[in-house]
Point group: C2
Chain length 693, copies 2
């Protein structure tokens, strides 16, 4: 059967519209769930307000940054305005702004629904696991459908309107740069609040999680929303767009916009979204069912449906089976990597248990064992990524020159195919986490809290798996973006009559120079974020102590005495907005400096160095953080001495270290290396013409 680019674009738009429709339907459904408890409604309102205030202030800062960046784009990209085509620059700048706006919108939608779904899930928990799970899951699914729907729609529209794959890179950079700041800002906010609330509340005062006397408790719940929901939404919006962009740039260079490769990219992306819609729609849980199983089984349904749909499309439209193969390899290895991350972070498995056991000798051992297992956990994931890249390259290489690299980009797309499902599962986590807090603060009683605990724990387990997935997919995407960079450079070189790039030779000293400097960037970036959390948390810890010391009756929980929640929210907001710009700027400017010093070769090395250390640190931090979190929960469940024991105190230290590891620095590194890759591609023409070496 014959199919044209126009047809597939229309199809992609229809699927996106369907996803947005499903999102709207789910949103209405969640909103219509009953809620009656006034206390919960009040606290829920607090959380929503706090999250919206943060988002407003963050977006105000970012809007300024975006406008400045757009002005620079207008003047300089893709070519300096005095040399090139003005319209190309206008279209690049608009694509960039469009990317930031859609990415911001993804965050905003997430917050909107999550701060409603948390209240509904808390109330529904009074009726049992099933209704509470459905409220949490469908709330998360709104996010999943909205993010993937808008990202696909955005890419299709940009390509249709500009007819230029470079503009898609501009769009992608808009999404990534916003995601970079949103992840960093949200990540600092959430961990500032979480760490401070735990340190003073749990460790010093012996309070439970979510005790309403704790002044930081609302900030902590706000943090779940702005960090885990809005930040994560922006992040996966960005990964998904970046994966599509890399594939589109290479597909275009292989056979033009009307070619079969571009059609395949859209077809596979749209079918992935369709599979996610089906997965979401079929998610079910029995009355006393296991939420863990429900989340996993909907993921497997999505995976199977995706594999089947793409195979069908390939047969029907005579797509290349080899490219389908690359996508399938990505999907398969992604699943395997998810399972290995689970091994290192699941409390039924030896690493978590050994870490808990070591905690009996004190916190130093908690840290040493968790850190060591975090390092070990990088091995299977890195081997998985390496094998995927190698195999998908060789599967597609026989199709012609350039197809090997295209195969890698398609394997990244395959790994991200089920991203709609992944986001749904990921957003489910903070919603039920919040629901747990609301149940506690609303005084819904032990039984209800136990139900929300069970839902929360399922969220944590799934999170580890999806994180492995998304880090690996980002790894493959940036490998593909390296290919996109080379192809952008060569296009520009041909236009300018300059020598292009045949290869990035490691033994070329500028490549090596870039590589070694590139290794440092993810390290510096994550250190800046963690120091940001650290500085901020210390401010908040003093504030909490101040409140306990100066507000009479607060410690004792006297009727009617309330802490000043707003002050803590304000500290987290102000602090994280102050810290979020510098780290992002370092990532962007280091790329610019290396490019103008060492030229395009140095940038090739620089990207490679970033990938190498970025993947290592992201895997280490996410997995060590997840491991510490679960080791603490394992001890709290009564093992190794249980609550209050030496092991428990040590495990809390591990968890506190792990929080910024896994929720601030670790997941931001993805975005950081994507941003670096996109900046490189966008500035390739300039680096080619102006550099010292």
């Amino acid at each position: 059967m014959q199919i044209s680019t126009q047809m597939i674009q229309v199809f992609a738009i229809l699927v996106s519209a369907l996803a947005l429709g499903v999102a709207f339907w789910l949103y209405t459904w969640v909103k219509s769930q009953p809620s009656s408890n006034a206390r919960i409604a009040e606290i829920g309102e607090y959380i929503r307000e706090g999250a919206n205030t943060f988002l407003r202030r963050e977006y105000t800062v970012l809007a300024k940054f975006t406008l400045i960046a757009a002005a620079v784009f207008l003047v300089l990209l893709p070519h300096p305005i005095w040399k090139g085509n003005v319209m190309a620059n206008v279209s690049m700048a608009i694509s960039y702004i469009f990317g930031t706006v859609l990415s911001a919108l993804a965050g905003k939608i997430g917050i909107q629904v999550a701060t409603i779904a948390n209240v509904k899930a808390a109330e529904a928990a009074q009726k049992g696991v099933k209704p509470s799970f459905m409220a949490g899951f469908r709330g998360g699914a709104v996010m999943g459908m909205a993010v993937v729907g808008t990202s696909l729609l955005g890419v299709v529209l940009v390509l249709m309107l500009t007819g230029d794959a470079s503009s898609v890179l501009g769009f992608s950079f808009g999404a990534s740069s916003l995601a970079l700041f949103a992840k960093a800002g949200g990540g600092i906010f959430t961990k500032t609040a979480d760490v401070s609330a735990d340190l003073v509340g749990k460790v010093d005062m012996g309070m439970e999680e979510d005790d309403p006397r704790n002044p930081a408790v609302i900030a902590d719940n706000v943090g779940d929303n702005v960090g885990d929901v809005a930040g994560m939404g922006a992040d996966l919006f960005d990964s998904n767009v970046a994966a599509m962009s890399a594939a589109l740039v290479m597909a275009t260079s292989l056979g033009g916009l009307a070619g079969m490769n571009v059609i395949m990219v859209f077809a596979y992306a749209a079918l992935g979204l369709l599979a996610s819609i089906i997965g979401v729609a079929t998610a079910r849980i029995g009355k006393h069912g296991d939420p863990n199983k429900a989340l996993n089984s909907s993921t497997y349904v999505t995976t199977a449906v995706y594999a089947a749909l793409t195979a069908l499309a390939t047969a029907l439209f005579n797509f290349e089976w080899r490219i389908w193969g690359a996508t399938a390899v990505g999907l398969l290895v992604g699943t395997v990597i998810g399972i290995t991350s689970d091994y290192f972070t699941n409390d039924n498995k030896p690493p978590v248990q050994y870490c808990a056991e070591s905690s009996k000798s004190g916190p130093a051992f908690t840290i040493l064992t968790g850190f060591s297992y975090g390092l070990l956990s990088s091995l299977p994931a890195l081997i998985g990524i390496a094998v995927t890249a190698l195999v998908s390259y060789y599967i597609c290489a026989p199709l012609g020159a350039g197809y090997g690299m295209f195969g890698i980009s398609m394997s990244a797309l395959g790994m991200l195919a089920i991203v709609g499902m992944i986001i749904s599962n990921d957003a489910y986590g903070p919603i039920v986490d919040n629901a747990r807090g609301l149940a506690e603060m609303g005084g819904l009683g032990e039984n209800v809290i136990a139900i929300t605990d069970e839902l929360d724990s399922a969220g944590n387990t799934v999170k580890a798996v999806t994180k492995g997935f998304s880090i690996s997919a980002a790894g493959l995407t940036v490998i593909a973006l390296l290919g996109a960079f080379a192809s952008e450079v060569n296009t520009a070189a041909a236009e300018l009559n300059l020598p292009g790039i045949e290869h990035f030779d490691i033994m070329n000293p500028t490549v090596f120079f870039g590589l070694i400097v590139g290794v440092a960037i993810p390290a510096v970036f994550s250190a800046m974020l963690m120091l940001g959390v650290d500085r901020n948390a210390q401010r908040m810890v003093s504030e909490i102590h101040r409140q306990f010391d100066t507000i009479p009756g607060l410690k004792e929980g006297r009727e009617g005495v309330k802490p000043d929640y707003d002050k803590c929210i304000d500290i987290a907001t102000t602090g994280s907005i102050k810290e979020l710009i510098p780290a992002g700027v370092v990532a962007i400017f280091s790329t610019v400096i290396v490019g103008f010093v060492g030229g395009v070769n140095a940038i090739g090395g620089f990207l490679t160095g970033n990938i190498a250390s970025g993947l290592l640190l992201a895997l280490l931090m996410s997995n060590a953080g997840g491991l510490w979190d679960n080791a603490k929960k394992y001890v709290e469940a009564g093992n190794c001495g249980g609550k209050g024991s030496v092991a428990h105190k040590a495990a809390v230290v591990g968890d506190t270290v792990g929080d910024p590891f896994k929720d601030t620095a670790g997941p931001s590194i993805n975005t950081q290396i994507t941003v670096v890759s996109l900046v490189s591609s966008l500035l390739s023409t300039l680096f080619l013409q102006f550099s010292i070496f």
Copy 2:
């Protein structure tokens, strides 16, 4: 003036002999220092015995390993024995064994003198700073002279006798593989003992460092010798040999054995040793002088003398000034990197003070800030390495094809030129650390302990600087070894009529495959070592508790009651010998697997991945470890609440985590990446012929 390879080899032999003579003279001097205190002599004897027992058991295991490896060499390298020249295989196997023997000897000499010098330094401290410093420094200098003398002598002899640069690689691999196990084994031993002694003694029982009631106290002092002296000696022996080997392989391929390049390598290496001899000879300290200044000034003397001597030789013998320039760049940047490491680990500087300040909020903040600064500290060092590689390449590239890479190898040699001085300073540290312990256990009183404390603290500061130096030099050496690998492959390819390597293209999928897998290896290696320390320390902690619980009067320090020191030494010995083989085997076998899967291209990527993550982790771990150590000392000096405060307890946790970071895993990574590089070069012929991809 004309000079031949023979002449320069004779000169190198003479300088080596001079160094060994100086070592012997210093050894006699140290031995002749007065000692009279029976208690100190007794404890000193304990330490010596413990160290020798460990060394004997370790070397027994390693001898078996060496013989097996030598048998493999005999059969397979440089060519399978059924295909090639039998004599070449014999000479390779003998060179390998020779390398292991000399490396082991370096460790043995170090232990021999260090376990005498510690006693002498302790006793001399009764007379003041000056005599005690001289005993410690000259004891360290024996090690410095012996290690560098034997390494230069070994390389010259191997090259003279075999006339083949590949055999030098075999010799170097012998040195490295022994160093790998010795560092790993010694590192696990020393930190097992240190961590356990601190945890039970200081934290649980509130005892001082080196309290003789602590059953692990002798093991701790033994550890200083087997880890810091013997392990470090083997390590720097290996770095020095590896740097010379890389330079020699490239020099030979550029102009044959009789060429000017080979002459320059020997000339510069020999002059570096000569400069170190002069530096050692001029080391002086006033009666109430500052040991810190004394150590630094002798380092600067050595540096200046080296620069002057090599400039003179270059002028006299018409060496290439460009190559001299590369060496000078290495030396200069090495010094700068040393200074930046000092910034991150010195307690007069903000990072350490901020970490101590954060410790007031608990151990999680100690860990987070120290870890973050550790990540940040990688930036200046990595930029330094990158700039050195770039500049030295471009300085030498105009001399002809292949000279750029040769320039990098000469900059590594320049950075390591003053290695004799570095080892002297490094070995000084554990000697005076032991002297402090002996003064405490021998009851020499507060004043004497204060003097040894001052000497010890100078040792710690210098250590941070020399570590930055040696990690960076190892980084450059392995970059040079990558060049050596390529030149080995091309020589073999020419013989076999196979296509050689023109470049390692990052976008080649096998290169990329190797690179991504390579990133994981240093992570896995260091995780295995740290888990080894962790497992071992837990065993020892139980043993210490057992002794305190079951030996009546031990806790109270009743007259005549002694702990069972031997049992702790035995646990550390048995444990570390069990743990030392697997980590080393992982490093070697992963190289073999990647080589046979992906061929020489994958190995090029694999080495690069190892360098990238190895340098990052080594810098992170060494500097974070040093920072935590000094933050603890800063708090103990009365800041942030002083001893016994919350900050102090938190800082102790940081120090305990930092111990295996900086003394087990961090410094072993150097050796690990060197071993991987050498295995690659040695097996290059096989990888070229037999691989899946």
